[in-house]
Each structure stands twice: as structure tokens, then as C-alpha cells.
């Protein structure tokens, strides 16, 4: 069995990729995907920690988090769809009617 520490490392890498993507990518869908990466990084971390501490709650947390992530994607896609309907773009940079 691999050392949970490696899982944590993977989680950190995923987190960094996710955050980096969240503020570098213009495309809303890709940002949403990056968001999922962050959430998954958290899930991995929960699992790794659960293994490390021998505590089952971590698994429960992870399952909850997956559910949350799923609903988040659903809501996000719905909102982006609405946004596309109005602005005819999903580029986050181009949707800037509200500012200052």
C-alpha cells in the first residue's frame, strides 16, 4: 500500500493545477473543470488523511464532497447556460457588463 503522504502530494499538485487553471483560463467550462480538480484534491486529501488517522469519517467526508461537487457542476452549468443565452459567449473575460 502506498504511503498516504504520496496521496497528499498528488492532492497538492491537483490543487495547484486547479487554482492555476481557475484564474488563467477564460472559458467558463474549463474553469468549472478546474474547480472540480480542486474539489477532487480535497477529496483525495480527506481519503489520505482518513487512512493516516485510521478514521472512517474522512471517507464519509469525501463522499459528501463528491455529492457537493456534483451539484455544484449542475448549478454551474445551468448558470453558464443562462449566461450563454444572454451573452452568447462563455468567455469569462467578455462577460463584463457589470463593473466598477
Amino acid at each position: 500500500m502506498i504511503d498516504p503522504a504520496w496521496v497528499s502530494v498528488l492532492s497538492v499538485i491537483l490543487f495547484i493545477i486547479g487554482v492555476w487553471g481557475a484564474f488563467t483560463r477564460k472559458n467558463a467550462i474549463i474553469v468549472l473543470m478546474c474547480l472540480e480538480l480542486i474539489l477532487n484534491a480535497a477529496n483525495l486529501q480527506f481519503v489520505a488523511a482518513a487512512i493516516q488517522h485510521g478514521d472512517a469519517t474522512g471517507w464519509v467526508y469525501a463522499i459528501f464532497a463528491i455529492a457537493i461537487a456534483a451539484s455544484e457542476v449542475a448549478i454551474g452549468l445551468a448558470i453558464f447556460l443562462a449566461m450563454y443565452g444572454q451573452h452568447e459567449t462563455i468567455s469569462l473575460d467578455d462577460v463584463n457588463l457589470l463593473k466598477h
Binding site: 484564474f23 483560463r25 463584463n96
Partner: protein
């Protein structure tokens, strides 16, 4: 003088009514005038308030006379009416708080009595004169009630100032007079020149008042009181620092300079002629200008106190020097004035300067002579002080008369002009009509030869002029000789006094010249205009004060014989009228003293003064302006010789003075030595300029700072809000930056 014993008396209890009656009459007349304005009964029977004011003034006069009669010769008295302000005062060590009081009361002594008489008497006469003068001039219709209201208030101010028992109340009434002078000078408010003159008068005197306040405050600090009863206490005076006291008195003197129109605060007085003539008489003779003299005379106890021996001579010199300078300066300016009232105005200034010189000399003497023990020194001091006060008296009477007489002239000129204009309505001389619009009823260039047409006025004017000039035996002669003599007496001791002494001596000749010039140009010679040829003297009321005052001026010799100078100058008031010598002996004593002085220097001095004042000055004037009346007209027998003499001198000794008249000096004098110009320029350019710059500074810099902060923060706001770019990516980026900062800060903390 040591302490003031309170003399129980009947009339001092009522003395407050001398002040209160006219003061209460002020709102009453104003109110009634407001209600009945234009009502025929009000105009005819009440003379628009004139006949309400008159009984009040008479009552004041009667009360004053009763008071005076009681106090002549009995020394000083005071009557404390009550406390006005009481307040806490922290002691110097900060340990205790004492109670101090500013009280209200009446204070009577010889100076008070004299001034009280002058003020109440003249106010009453001027009131009579006003009824004749004001109510017959259509320009004053429907606003005479305002005149009488302000007039009585003015009188109450003067009477209150004289009767006050402390410098504080002196100042309060002093200011009240300032207000009334402002109102009365600006009586013809619609004339810009009157508005300007009123403002000038108030402002100039206000400058002096500021110093007076400071002086009073300093005095308060020295004595913890302003009551005469306290501050004149010699024991207390001995304890104060002479330097401080001199400063305080000097400050107060500046106030007097402003009020009495002395150099360099003299500029308001000639302009004050913008008011109606009774006002001029009031300001110049009865009230306002005397206030300054009264204030300086009030300082006598400080100078006379043994504790101050020799310490205050500098101030005495300054008083005399200001007087001397003003005497010559004003007289010189009077040379070139053509306006009848302006000549009198400058004459007032000059004569007041005499009194200041006299007071200065007297104060110097009191301060440096050991007069408390030495009888001879005592007499010198008393006579010196008395002479100054006597001149005040003489001048007030004469100048009151002169102004009323000039008012009479102007009034009649005006009427004559008005009548002619009216009768010429159907005539064909339109050119003249046009000229008449600009007719100046006050200019002596338009007069001449009035002696035959206005005998009472001319006589009064003649006596008044003689009194001012100091023609032997008449009015001011007695006092003026005394002033000149005393100035020289001091000059022998203190060489600095040569300046004022020389000034007053030269001034005597100048006075002789300009007063004669004025009389001759007005009353002698041929009429210079049609109007002057048609003047009549027929206005009621006006002659009453003129005649009265003529006799008063002429009877000055009797007062002299009654030892007026001794009585008035005696600080303890112990010297009663007739008390020592009786009238005849007194007269002999005075004559001897003046005309046959045992001291050779003063003997010569007297005759020099008489010579230049009574012969050189008038002689020059006659040479230039003398002339006989129109053929077939004759003046009264007491004037005809003078007119004849003048025409003869003019014929024999007449010379062309056009070179003088057009010289730079003459022009400078016509421009009043540029004082007004410079002051106006200073006010406009410097003060107003600075004020405008300040106002702009306040708006642009002080307020601008706030506005800049506001506009800067608005700009900052725009900048800050610009960070909200509208792009969600940027928002996340900013948040990421925020995370970094959070870690940085947490790291710092750990």
C-alpha cells in the same frame, strides 16, 4: 486727592435723571414720530418732536443747575447707585477667588460740574436753535422726529459720560455718543458724502476707542477697579508701577485723540459737517469733542499724585505735543477753506489742540512740581489746569454760537436762494437756473456783505470769532493767554516743550487770521452773489441761542474775575466762587496778572501773544479780504467801525496773494495735507486689498483643502473601483493575491 467723602445731598440722588430723561425720550420721540409722521398737529404743535425734546432738555438743564449750585465749592461727591457686574477674579497665586464689581453711580467734582454746565446748557440752546433751523427746511420734513430722538440720545450720552463715576461708564456713554454722532452725521443718509462721512467719523473714533479700551483694561489691572473713588486714591496710586500707569494713560489718551479729532486721527471732523448744522454745533461745542478733553482732564489725579512725582512727564509732553502740532496744522488748513462750516471745523480742531496743550502743560506741572506742600507751585498748577478747562468752557460757548450763527447764515442763504429760484420761475434767465442747481449755500465765495442784513448773526459771529481769536478781554482771551503762558512756563523747564509752546504762539496769529478772514468774507465787503444780496434774517427760534451765547461770551471777563481758573483748576474744589477775593478784587487780580505780570518773561510773552493774535493775524486778513459794505447799507454801530477799518487796511495794505494761493503749500492745505487721501488709500489699497486676498485665501486654500480632499477621494474612488474590472478571472486572481498576503501575514505573526 485722598479719598472721596460721600456728601449726602438731595440732588445727587436725582442726578441720574439728568441722563435718564433724555435717554428715555429717545424711544418715545422715535415711537411717536413713527406713529404721527406727517400729521399736521405733530408738525405744527409738537414741531415733529422738537417740543418734546425741549422740555426734557430744559429739565435736564434745571436738574444740572440745581446739582451744580449745590456742589460749587463743596468739593467732590459721589452717589453709588448699584453694582452692574460682579464677577470672580482669581488671585495671582491661584489660591483664592475674590469678588470684583463694576458699579454704577454718579460722581461730582469741579470738572464734572463745569462740563455738566457746558453740556446741558448748550444742548438746551441747540435744541432751541434746531427747532428754528430744522423745522423750517423742507428737506427735513417727516424725518425731524428722527433728528430729535437721536439728538436727545446724544445729549444723554454726553451728560452720562460727564456724570459717570467710573472710567467704565465714561467709556460706555462715550461709545453711545459715537453711535449718535454716526447717526446724526449720516442724517441725510441719501447723500453718499454723508454716508461716507458718518462711517469715517465712527471708524476713526473707533480706532481711538480700541486703545481706550486697552488703556482701561490696563488700568483695571493696576487698580482692580475703574471707579474714580478708587483709582484716584493717592495711596493706591503710589503702589502701582509708574511705567505701567503711563502706558495705560497713554492708551487712554489715544482714545481722546480720536474723539477730540487730534492729529493723526483728526480726519473725521471736517467731514462731519455733512450732518445738519445743529449737529455740527452739538458735536463741536457741546458734546463729542469735549469728551476727549474731559477724559484727559480726568487723568489729572494720576499726574498730581505725589506717588507719581516726575514719572509721567513723558505722557504730559506727548499730550502737549499732539496739541501743538494739531493747533498749527488745523489752523493752516483753515486758511484755505472756503466752506464756512469747514473753517469752523478746523478752528475747532485747532482750539481743542490748544486745550490739549494746556492740559499737557498743566499735567506736566502737576507731575513735576511739589505742589502739595508748596503754595506757589500749587497756584501754578491750579491756574494752569484751570486755564485749560476755562478755554474748554470759552471755546464751547463760542463755538456753539459760531456754529449756530453759521447755521443761521446758511439757512438764510438757502432760503434766499430758494425764494429767488421760486420767484424766477417765470423769468427768462434759464442759464441762472441751471447754475442755481449747484448753488453752494455754505461757500463763503457766495456770501459777503451780510453784516447789514443779518445783524444778530453777524454780531454773534463777531463775538464768537473774537473769543476764539482771544481778542483782549473777550471770552477766550483769558484762557488762551493762560495756555500760552503755561506752555512757555514748562518749556523753560523742559526744552521739549518748546515745540508745543512755539506752536501755540504761532497758532494764535493763525487763529487771528483765519477767524478774521471768515468773518470778513462773510459779513464784510460787497455781496458776491445775487443770493447774498437778498438774505433776510427772519427765522424764529434761531436768535434766542445766539443772543444768549453772545452775552455768555462777553461775560467771560466776569467769570475770570470770579476766579474761574482757580476754582476749576483746584482739584480739591475748595476754592469757591467769590470765596477769596470777591468780584472786583478778583478782576483786579486777573488784570494785574495778565497785563502786568511781575515776571519779565511772561510780561513780554503776553504782549507778544496779544500782538500777533489781535493785530498781525486780523491785520493780514483785513489786508486781503477787507472791504466796505454795499453803498447805502450800514451795519450796526459796533460792527461798522470794524468794516470800515478793514476796507481801509485793504485799500492801503492790500497785496496780491495769488502766488501764495496757487503755491504747492496752498494746494496741499486745500487737500488737507493729503491725510484723507492717504488714509483712504490705505483703507482701500492695503486693508481692503489684504481683506480680499484673505477672503480668497479662505475660500481657495482653507476651504480648498477640504474640497481637494473631497475631490481627491472621489478620484481615488474611481481608481479603486476600476480594480473591479468586471472579469471574474481578475476577481479570482485578486483573491489569490489575497491568499498570498494572508500567508505572508500569518508567517510574519509566527
Amino acid at each position: 486727592m485722598a479719598g472721596t467723602e460721600t456728601i449726602s445731598s438731595t440732588f445727587i440722588e436725582y442726578a441720574i435723571f439728568i441722563v435718564l430723561l433724555p435717554m428715555l425720550a429717545f424711544p418715545i420721540i422715535l415711537f411717536l414720530g413713527h406713529i404721527f409722521n406727517g400729521n399736521q398737529k405733530w408738525v405744527k404743535s409738537a414741531k415733529e418732536g422738537g417740543l418734546i425734546a425741549l422740555p426734557i432738555m430744559v429739565a435736564s438743564f434745571v436738574l444740572s443747575m440745581l446739582l451744580i449750585a449745590e456742589f460749587i465749592g463743596t468739593g467732590t461727591g459721589s452717589h453709588h447707585i448699584g453694582d452692574w457686574l460682579s464677577f470672580g477674579w482669581m488671585s495671582a497665586d491661584g489660591m483664592t477667588i475674590n469678588e470684583k464689581v463694576f458699579g454704577v453711580g454718579i460722581y461730582i467734582d469741579h470738572v464734572t460740574v463745569m462740563l455738566l454746565f457746558v453740556a446741558s446748557f448748550l444742548c438746551m440752546l441747540i435744541n432751541i436753535f434746531s427747532i428754528g433751523y430744522m423745522n423750517t427746511d423742507p428737506i427735513n420734513d417727516n424725518r425731524n422726529h428722527r433728528f430729535y430722538a437721536e439728538f436727545v440720545l446724544f445729549c444723554s450720552g454726553m451728560l452720562g459720560m460727564v456724570l459717570a463715576d467710573s472710567f467704565l461708564w465714561l467709556f460706555i456713554f462715550w461709545e453711545l455718543m459715537g453711535l449718535c454722532s454716526y447717526l446724526l452725521i449720516g442724517f441725510y443718509y441719501e447723500k453718499p458724502s454723508a454716508a461716507y462721512a458718518a462711517k469715517k467719523a465712527f471708524l476713526t473714533t473707533r480706532v481711538g476707542d480700541v486703545f481706550l479700551v486697552i488703556g482701561l483694561v490696563m488700568l483695571w489691572n493696576l487698580f482692580d477697579s475703574l471707579d474714580y473713588a478708587v483709582v484716584f486714591n493717592e495711596d493706591l496710586i503710589a503702589q502701582v508701577d509708574p511705567g505701567q500707569l503711563q502706558l495705560a494713560l497713554g492708551m487712554m489718551f489715544i482714545g481722546a485723540v480720536g474723539k477730540s479729532a487730534q492729529f493723526p486721527l483728526h480726519v473725521w471732523l471736517p467731514d462731519a459737517m455733512e450732518g445738519p448744522t445743529p449737529v455740527s454745533a452739538l458735536i463741536h461745542a457741546a458734546t463729542m469733542v469735549n469728551a476727549g478733553l474731559y477724559l484727559v482732564a480726568r487723568m489729572f489725579p494720576f499726574f498730581g499724585a505725589p506717588g507719581m512725582h516726575g514719572e509721567l512727564v513723558d505722557l504730559a509732553f506727548i499730550i502737549a505735543a499732539i496739541g501743538g502740532i494739531t493747533a498749527v496744522m488745523a489752523a493752516a488748513i483753515a486758511f484755505v477753506q472756503d466752506d464756512l462750516k469747514k473753517v469752523l471745523a478746523y478752528s475747532t480742531m485747532s482750539q481743542l489742540a490748544y486745550i490739549f496743550t494746556g492740559l499737557g502743560a498743566a499735567l506736566w506741572l502737576a507731575n513735576s512740581l511739589d505742589w502739595h506742600t508748596d503754595d506757589k507751585a500749587h497756584a501754578i498748577v491750579v491756574v494752569a489746569f484751570g486755564a485749560a478747562l476755562f478755554h474748554l468752557f470759552n471755546h464751547a460757548m463760542a463755538k456753539g454760537m459760531l456754529f449756530m450763527a453759521s447755521g443761521s447764515v446758511i439757512h438764510e442763504m438757502h432760503h434766499a436762494h430758494h425764494d429767488m429760484h421760486h420767484h424766477d420761475d417765470h423769468g427768462d434767465d434759464h442759464h441762472d437756473d441751471h447754475d442755481d442747481d449747484h448753488f453752494d449755500a455754505q461757500s463763503m465765495e457766495n456770501m459777503g456783505g451780510l453784516a447789514s442784513k443779518m445783524p444778530i448773526t453777524a454780531t454773534a459771529m463777531l463775538v464768537g470769532s473774537a473769543s476764539i481769536m482771544g481778542l483782549p478781554l473777550i471770552g477766550g482771551f483769558w484762557s488762551k493767554e493762560g495756555i500760552i503762558a503755561n506752555a512757555w512756563r514748562v518749556a523753560l523747564e523742559d526744552p521739549r516743550f518748546f515745540l508745543p509752546a512755539a506752536c501755540v504762539l504761532i497758532g494764535a496769529a493763525m487763529t487771528g487770521f483765519y477767524m478774521s478772514r471768515m468773518w470778513l468774507k462773510t459779513f464784510a465787503g460787497k455781496p458776491k452773489t445775487e443770493v447774498a444780496a437778498n438774505v433776510h434774517e427772519n427765522t424764529p427760534w434761531i436768535p434766542i441761542p445766539l443772543v444768549t451765547l453772545t452775552f455768555v461770551s462777553l461775560s467771560s471777563v466776569i467769570l475770570a474775575g470770579m476766579m474761574f481758573t482757580h476754582w476749576a483748576g483746584e482739584p480739591n474744589g475748595g476754592y469757591a466762587f467769590f470765596g477769596e477775593k470777591g468780584l472786583l478784587k478778583g478782576l483786579i487780580y486777573e488784570f494785574e496778572h495778565v497785563f502786568a505780570n511781575s515776571d519779565a518773561f511772561f510780561f513780554v510773552l503776553t504782549y507778544v501773544a496779544i500782538f500777533i493774535g489781535a493785530i498781525v493775524g486780523p491785520g493780514l486778513a483785513m489786508a486781503l479780504y477787507g472791504g466796505s459794505l454795499k453803498d447805502g447799507e450800514k451795519a450796526k454801530p459796533w460792527m461798522q467801525p470794524i468794516i470800515n477799518l478793514s476796507s481801509r487796511v485793504n485799500a492801503k495794505r492790500g497785496f496780491d496773494n495769488s502766488a501764495w494761493a496757487n503755491s504747492g503749500l496752498s494746494n496741499a492745505l486745500k487737500e488737507r495735507l493729503y491725510f484723507d487721501k492717504w488714509y483712504d488709500a490705505a483703507m482701500l489699497k492695503l486693508v481692503a486689498g489684504f481683506a480680499n486676498v484673505s477672503a480668497a485665501f479662505d475660500r481657495k486654500v482653507v476651504d480648498g483643502t477640504i474640497k481637494t480632499i473631497e475631490s481627491t477621494s472621489q478620484k481615488l474612488s474611481t481608481q479603486v473601483r476600476r480594480l473591479t474590472t468586471g472579469s471574474a478571472r481578475d476577481y479570482i486572481m485578486m483573491a489569490a493575491l489575497g491568499v498570498l498576503v494572508i500567508y505572508l501575514l500569518l508567517g510574519v505573526m509566527v
